[in-house]
Symmetry: C2
Subunit: 531 residues, 2 copies
């Protein structure tokens, strides 16, 4: 069953192995395990719902608890401490676009605020209700979860917006197709959520971001239905899909999503190589993408991430053999960087792509390994959100943040983000910080930074430690010309930094756009744009 | 010197050869040559300017004549007849974004309407002033025509928005780079115009549409400067670039354009193949793009276009040899369809792509020819706008229109457009109609239809013939779910059909967006959105 206070299914875990625990303790000191609240405590704190009865709305406390928070570290601390603060007054489970329409009208008539809810995986506070006078209805799309049409000639599939990643791929695979959108949250996040937050998946290099996959659909807005027809490309004015993508529930409720799908690939392989140091790894990544080597994913870990991943993975014998092999091939021990890459397609394509990649890796002084580590990556690709549980057990908290900048600014931005986090870990504390590049563009790259730190002696102190680091890193991101989010979205947590990307002039345009569709400010207030 | 009443430089011509003339006469009957007005006549008809003096504004009649019309067939008929109707009251030639800003403020203070002007190549009435009480200033970006920055690491080039195609590529080639955006209007059209109208170029298969190339820049709006930073990808809310692209001068004046560039390719080749019939040609095109064969362009002509192109090209001996060769290879004479395709990149890439393409062509029953026809295409690739002159001399008018639909609807849409044109050629008249697909997407294809018809005995009648066909074809396009424009934009001519793509809900959002940036409705009124 899905956890009420953490990531994923409670059957899945990611305990830290002794070597991993020792590694972290050497860097951060022994952790401090904070006590978890239990569900009964939290249920007792849920106030009475302020909503009138509606047959599609569930006001049971547990349902409201389970839809109150996303998966940011702030959400985690709220859930673990039991100090949720605010709950939605109820959760609706419509089964059709018409029922969504009906609920929107009901909210208007009842003066209720509405928060659209997909998989509840936001790490930026997208779906958290705020305290206020008006009741809040969370609208879950969970029952709009089916493939309703597949146009095989045009390779366009139509889904209910609440369909989660694994269900998208299962329904498509039965027909021989794949979407290929694999964000880290894939296990739980949904098509509609990906559109609403402009998501990107691990294999965006082949399949594109959601911007390239989203072909059309339907949005129920407070002021009417917006229908987005499927047209492969158009020069007929600004693209309305682009207003919906990234709208984070402020314009309306996405009910139907049409996506561009591909035939299941004949072959898919992931490989791992090692580069002598960070500079050569970054340069290689840039060369691979600027030379259009047709890989389906590339991830470049810096030295600290490489060391951490190999240690936490706990494949001691594999790692030891690898270290010996790399030493024999002349790579220094301390600075090596891991490159994980994938090839996807028919056999001839994969052979061609693999050949090109290997040539480029050798030219950059890199060493390719066999497929064992690539297989390990593939097996564990959706496991890392569970790591928060293993660290928590040991008294550590973990968070991630990300941006995207032009290549010319990649190295300085990585350094600035990591330094800002370390500098703001708190008195006498430090943070264990590491970074990878995982979405490459000819113009630049995403930057994804993970930081692990010791919990303070209480929740409030832990939250303060987190916020000091998060804030400093966000300031460093925008100071370097980066977006406040490449793949997580803005939500409530990133909204203060949005002005650096959009400018006051652009922000004013977005505000007016929201007001145009939602003149009463009923949808997800405070998300994306601050009040 | 650039023609005041037609396409391009007056040194360039495209006279119809005897075989071509006979071919058309057999289909349409002998043409009727209408008399052209001369420039002096037109200059005498230019009314006094209603503008106050401004040092950046030229109110000379010839300048106003030369900026009054684009290149649609309606524009052509207006220019050739001398019946322009309306002229701008003056043309400004700012040399910087600051001067554009100053002119916008001046227009506000003087209550003047403003039309941004790039290369003047619109075929949809984008830059035509309308009759009205307020004076109209056309703002030419011609003097913002330089490469001002090239970030080689990030492959981003910064240009003045008025830089025309050949100048873009010349300035980049000096540094070893290419943009690769080649619309049919490339000789005259500009970067800013491409952005404002969401343009697409002949090699969009490799380089992308302007949506993929436009990385950021500056727009001077009536309510302030909109600065679009370069960020490779972002999930931070709706993308403001997407509001600017396709805005057709309604939101502001684009002054600076940052584009994603590529290194000059090591190799580029164009090839021609022939498919037995239209169905197999369309299916092959779809297979090539859905299998991701990395070609840089594909153009599939239907049988009538194939026949017409080969005849008009006038390479009689080449064509005769080709016919014999194809007959030997078993292809029927009447229905063959020409496939033109390109490979671009390093040698290994081109070899790989060419091999894949040839395999697919053979599997589809096609026959590849040598490179001679591909070279002919390359030499003549920007010549076809001049064909209007050659036809006009013989008493024929020519126009083109285009759309884009999902693959599932391509054949029926082509048939419907062609039939609508033929059915509306007028009493006792017919039109010579032919079509190609030239921008392929996994989801569908653009459709580009050319129609040639006899002029009526006067300009008014000729215009009526054109409008009946254009209107019927536009109705057929939207009835089949196509966009009213895949690459030409909306302008004033296509605005009535925009609602079929955007819906009333979407259109209202676009109207509000325009009003947000331009509350007084000063910029290019009637363009994109009808009043």
């Amino acid at each position: 069953m899905r956890r009420w206070n953490g990531w994923g299914d409670s059957a899945n875990d990611y305990p830290l192995k002794p070597a991993g625990a020792a590694f972290l303790e050497a860097r951060l000191g022994a952790g401090q395990r904070l006590a978890d609240a239990d569900l009964d405590q939290v249920l007792a704190s849920v106030p009475a719902s302020r909503l009138a009865h509606h047959p599609l709305v569930d006001t049971a406390p547990e349902t409201r608890v389970r839809h109150a928070r996303g998966q940011s570290l702030a959400d985690w601390l709220a859930m673990r401490s039991g100090d949720f603060g605010v709950f939605p007054d109820g959760v609706a489970f419509p089964e059709s676009g018409e029922q969504v329409r009906e609920l929107l009208d009901w909210c208007r008539d009842q003066d209720v605020l509405l928060i659209p809810y997909g998989g509840g995986t936001s790490v930026a506070g997208h779906i958290n209700p705020r305290a206020g006078d008006r009741p809040v209805l969370t609208l879950s799309l969970a029952r709009l979860d089916r493939l309703t049409d597949l146009d095989e000639a045009s390779q366009v599939a139509t889904f209910g917006a609440g369909t989660p990643g694994p269900s998208v791929e299962r329904q498509l695979a039965e027909r021989g197709y794949r979407l290929g959108h694999y964000p880290q949250s894939w296990e739980l996040s949904t098509l509609g959520g990906w559109v609403a937050s402009r998501s990107s998946g691990q294999q965006s290099l082949r399949y594109g971001r959601i911007e390239q996959l989203f072909a059309g659909g339907r949005v129920e807005t407070p002021t009417g239905t917006l229908t987005l027809p499927t047209i492969p490309a158009s020069s007929a004015g600004p693209d309305l899909r682009e207003m919906v993508m990234g709208s984070e529930g402020r314009l309306g409720v996405i009910t139907e999503v049409k996506v561009r799908v591909s035939p299941l690939p004949e072959e898919e392989q992931f490989h791992v190589a090692f580069l002598p140091d960070w500079d050569s790894a970054v340069l290689l990544a840039r060369r691979l993408v600027q030379a259009r080597v047709p890989l389906s994913m590339v991830r470049v870990s810096n030295a600290e991430e490489t060391r951490t991943q190999l240690t936490l993975a706990g494949h001691e014998r594999l790692v030891a053999a690898l270290e010996r092999y790399l030493a024999l091939r002349g790579q220094p021990r301390g600075r090596k960087c891991m490159l994980t890459f994938g090839v996807t397609g028919d056999k001839a394509h994969c052979r061609h792509a693999l050949g090109e990649a290997r040539r480029a890796i050798r030219a950059a002084g890199g060493v390719t390994t066999g497929r064992a580590l690539g297989r390990k990556w593939e097996e564990a690709r959706f496991r890392s959100p569970y790591l928060r549980h293993g660290l928590w057990e040991r008294g550590y908290a973990v968070d991630t943040l990300e941006t995207c900048v032009d290549w010319g600014r990649v190295p300085q931005t990585v350094a600035a983000i990591e330094q800002a986090i370390r500098d703001h870990a708190g008195d006498g504390e430090t943070a264990h910080v590491f970074t990878h590049l995982s979405h490459l563009y000819a113009q630049g790259s995403s930057i994804y930074t993970t930081y692990v730190f010791r919990c303070s002696s209480d929740y409030q102190g832990t939250r303060q430690r987190w916020w000091a680091m998060k804030r400093a890193a966000s300031d460093a991101i925008v100071a370097n010309g980066g977006t406040i989010s490449h793949q997580h979205g803005v939500g409530r947590d990133h909204a203060p930094w949005l002005v650096h990307e959009k400018g006051e002039r652009g922000l004013a345009a977005l505000r007016d756009l929201v007001t145009h569709f939602d003149p009463q400010g009923r949808l997800n207030p405070g998300c994306l744009l601050e009040d």
